[in-house]
Amino acid sequence: MADKLTKASIRINTELCKGCYLCKATCPENLIFVSGKLNSKGYYPANYSEEELDIEKHACKGCALCAIVCPDLAIEVYRG
């Protein structure tokens, strides 16, 4: 399980997000959710957090589709 966690991950800069949610619609594993907290632009940003995920069922595979569709360059993808 720990291996799965370290396989891949994304980091969303919520301050850059404008809430188009294209990443949320694109993620094949449905790992991106809408944050309940407004960012300083006044949008509810897309967010990703490993703590809130059921890692047994879902895990980021680092496919980078979310980052490819993000118009605001808010997503960085890491693979290890």
Binding site: T6, A25, Y43
Partner: protein, 248 residues
């Protein structure tokens, strides 16, 4: 973990001013990625348009020279002729290239100028508030065609890329889209090929990119991408319109 996707080197750490879901910033990123991959950051000069992308020079970490509305091809021609060792691209919207700048563009293509044009087609005048552009589809709503563009009153949408393919000096013209990850990846390949066409000195190259404008289409970003997929690509089919790269 190793970073496999992030901000391209030739892009400044600036926040985009574009609306949520806009295709411009995706296209900016693709151009910057291609510049990085070809290693031409010190050699490239961009020509931003008038329109939504007028502030493109705030985002690219490369030399830029602003053009008046529609004059991208003419300004790029001047830069390329005075500095022939540089790579020059103009970045133009549909209101810019297909309306006020039609003459400059057609003549630049016909002369076979060694420039690359990125033609962003979103079917409306975005910056001024969504008026009808030459590329607005028949039946499509805009602020100047409420109830939809009517053929008998407003005429047909213009197929500028097909017109430019007739020009003798054009070498590579392709129409792509940025409405899905697959199409975004393909668009990057097309931009790379267009830049390579110029680097090899073959002639005029252009990539037309269908891009969503959720704000002026009055749709959510996801709906706007679906609209491109269901409607726009039927009127503006995605294809290589002219490719003489291998033949020259």
């Amino acid at each position: 973990m190793k970073k496999v996707f992030g901000r391209p080197k030739s892009m400044k750490a600036a926040e985009f001013h574009y609306c949520p879901g806009c295709g411009h910033s995706i296209i900016h990123r693709l151009i910057a990625e291609v510049i990085d991959e070809l290693g031409i950051q010190e050699k490239i000069i961009g020509v931003p348009p008038a329109g939504c992308a007028v502030l493109a020079y705030n985002y690219f970490d490369v030399d830029m020279g602003e053009a008046p509305h529609g004059r991208g091809a003419a300004v790029a021609t001047g830069i390329k002729r005075s500095l022939p060792d540089r790579i020059v691209f103009s970045y133009q919207g549909d209101g810019d290239i297909a309306a006020i700048g039609t003459a400059e563009t057609i003549h630049a293509a016909n002369r076979g100028e060694l420039i690359t044009t990125i033609f962003v087609n979103n079917g409306v005048y975005g910056m001024t508030g969504g008026q009808m552009a030459p590329t607005t589809l028949v039946g499509q709503d805009s602020t100047t065609t409420p109830g939809g563009r009517r053929l008998e009153r407003d005429g047909f949408p213009i197929d500028l890329s097909e017109m430019l393919a007739i020009a003798h000096g054009s070498v590579y013209i392709e129409r792509t889209s940025v409405h899905s990850p697959k199409h975004i990846i393909h668009t990057k390949k097309a931009i790379k090929k267009a830049f390579k066409t110029q680097i090899e000195g073959l002639g005029f190259s252009l990539v037309e990119i269908l891009s969503p404008c959720p704000t002026n289409w009055k749709m959510s970003p996801i709906k706007a991408n679906e609209f491109i997929n269901s409607t726009i690509i039927k009127n503006f089919p995605l294809k290589v319109i002219k490719d003489e790269v291998g033949k020259l």
